[in-house]
């Protein structure tokens, strides 16, 4: 079942939560809505579910207009951040709820409900918990039960609102892999909302990056990570270093340093260059003109990687560099040492609203 979202707008009072959203979600796709809190991603999800009505625009399920269809007729499964299990029912009853409450004509028999609930419990690998109450389960178990409950009504669309947001890092990682496997098994069109870029990049077929009620970019995880369309996407998908300089004859000039730029960018007297921490090399000796002098001010080891914080000698701010522990050991760096930075990859964005001019005033 494909979902088409056309010109959706939604305001709460004076606040514009969604500004003209257009989106196509293909049948059987797993799409992540990614953005900072308050960007409108949950509102969009609730509008798709029918829990919220848009001010303008239409939602089509498989070409059929569902904008004004009641939630219960849309056949969506919804998984909430805080599980929303019914507290006074056992796990079994929670999952059976959606089936038991159907009108008589379409309600399956008791035996069939029992079989189905156990199938679902097996699917989420929690068959042994059928008789417990939600309060007796761990967070990860509750969320899997919530997912089983959402799947019980045989939804055509599965919507997940920050499904792993309330779980600790390890369980979260486990569950998102499990969700991906589950999706590969069931192939239900799924949309999930997250503010965690790692989660979105790992799980989704396509990622939709939202900011301030607008779509910044739509693409596969590789596309949005490797070819971010806007500075916002670039900064949201990971740590960044900014360099101010200019573009001249296809080269980036940062202070006295010249660096090759990919492509053939047009001449620009003021530009901001972006580089991720792992895209910068630390050299002991200057390599011609293509290195920026800096001093190491801090070194932090974070598990398998090491983060080095450096201050540029020309007083143009702090640069963060990330490398593997092996690389770090072979370089033998120490705090206070003077070294040279060489970005392996620089990115420059077309100007928007003069925002990149801002820095050059310094």
């Amino acid at each position: 079942m494909s979902i088409t979202i056309r010109n959706i707008q939604k305001s709460f009072g004076q606040f514009k939560a969604l500004k003209n959203i257009n989106l196509e979600i293909g049948a059987g796709e797993l799409v992540a809505l990614l953005g900072p809190s308050g960007c409108g991603k949950t509102t969009l999800l609730r509008i798709i579910a029918g829990l919220e009505t848009p001010d303008t625009g239409v939602i089509l399920f498989h070409g059929e207009n569902t904008t004004h269809m009641h939630v219960r007729d849309r056949h969506v499964g919804f998984v909430f951040q805080h599980y929303a299990l019914f507290r006074h029912m056992t796990v079994f009853e929670n999952i059976a709820f959606g089936l038991r409450v159907r009108p008589k004509e379409t309600r399956p028999s008791d035996a069939e409900i029992r079989r189905k609930v156990h199938d679902l419990l097996n699917l989420v690998q929690l068959d042994w918990l059928a008789d417990r109450y939600p309060a007796q389960l761990s967070g990860g178990q509750r969320q899997r039960i919530a997912l089983a409950r959402a799947l019980a009504v045989e939804p055509k669309v599965l919507l997940l609102d920050e499904p792993f947001g309330a779980l600790d890092a390890k369980v979260r990682k486990e569950l998102r892999r499990w969700l991906r496997r589950l999706h590969d098994e069931l192939h239900i069109t799924s949309v999930f909302v997250t503010h965690d870029q790692e989660e979105a990049l790992e799980v989704a077929d396509r990622v939709v990056v939202l900011n301030e009620g607008q779509i910044e970019q739509i693409g596969t995880p590789d596309e949005v990570y490797d070819h971010p369309a806007t500075p916002f996407v670039y900064q949201f998908l990971g740590d960044v270093n900014l360099f101010h300089g200019r573009v001249h004859e296809g080269q980036a000039r940062i202070g006295d340093v010249q660096l090759e730029l990919p492509g053939s960018p047009e001449r620009r007297d003021s530009a901001v260059f972006y580089a991720r921490p792992h895209e910068i090399d630390i050299l002991r000796e200057p390599d011609g003109q293509a290195a920026i002098a800096a001093q190491i001010i801090d070194i932090r080891a974070l598990g398998a990687t090491v983060r080095v914080e450096l201050e540029r000698q020309d007083d143009h701010g702090i640069v963060e560099v990330e490398m593997s522990r092996d690389q770090f050991n072979s370089k033998d760096l120490d705090r206070g040492e003077s070294v040279y930075l060489q970005p392996k990859r620089l990115r420059v964005f077309a100007e928007r609203n003069g925002e990149e001019n801002l820095g050059s005033a310094a």
Partner: protein
Amino acid sequence: MPPISPVLEVVPVNATCLELRLAGAWTVAAPLPAPDRVLQALRENSAIRSLHFDCHALASWDSLLLTFVVKVLDACEERGILADQSGLPKGLQGMLALAHAVPERQDAFRPLEPAGFAAMIGRHILNGIEDGRRLVEFVGEATLAFGRLLLGRARFRGADLLRLLQECGPNALPIISLISVLVGMILAFIGAVQLRVFGAQIFIADLVGLGMAREMGATMAAILMAGRTGAAFAAELGSMQVNDEIDAMKTSGFPPMEFLVLPRILALFMMTPFLCLYADILGIFGGALAAAGMFDVSFAEYYIQIENRLRLVDFEVGIGKSAVFGILVAIAGCMRGLQCGRSSTAVGFATTSAVVTGIVFIVVSDAVMTLIVTTLNLYQK
């Protein structure tokens, strides 16, 4: 180097484009050309759509140039003229960017304009109308759900109804007992002070009996239920709303109106008449305690007086009222619970509001029903 005096040239490049050539030292040292000339040129030639700067001959500048440029740019913006800033010195562009860097967001906050007296009244009235509209909507939906119940098509769990019956009935007995006995005694005391003057203490029984059966039993039971059960309903449904359980129900294809509201209304509707009868009897008993203890009326006299004076219709009216109160208290509690916001503080508001709404409903409907009963002359039959 002696300062070169600042020079401003306004050069029309073509019919729609204007160029400003700045030369010399635009500093505080020499009097600057006023922007008026540029503004005048813009005013006079309305065909101009774009403007740019040429600063190649500019020797030096300070913030005075900035104020000049800002005035020109503002004028351009007013007239919808595209001003190309790229010809300006780099540093100046940076300062302009800083000056315009954080435009105030128009949609990020709700303006809190100081409300005048009239505006406040207006807002209250609008809120009242909105509240009334939601009440009508809720009652309508509840009625539809009740209709489905009568058709045997409503869907809720019998176990839930039983639990609610237990909660609304037997669990409320201790507090109802205490309050009813005391209310009966208070009625007896209030009446006795006057009646004793005439040596008519025996009529304490009439006063307490009629007062409890027709009015106080039903009202006191209902008010206790509003504070106890109505508030509990609002808190229960409110926290379900906060935990997304209500949304979860809707997406499972299930109307919360049938599953949550209907059994609650039913439970209170079924239990309050019993509570009312119980309160009547205990209130009369309380009156007997006061009469026998302090006003020389024996239990036997009191009992005979009650038996002679009270008729079934007196109890029927009170019990009938209490059934209506039960429904209203349940509606108030469930409505406020479902209207609850999504934060935990909202649950508190919903609870308080449920009690207040419940009591308002009780008193208003009581007034109406008393009026009807009196007009129909029910007691005289």
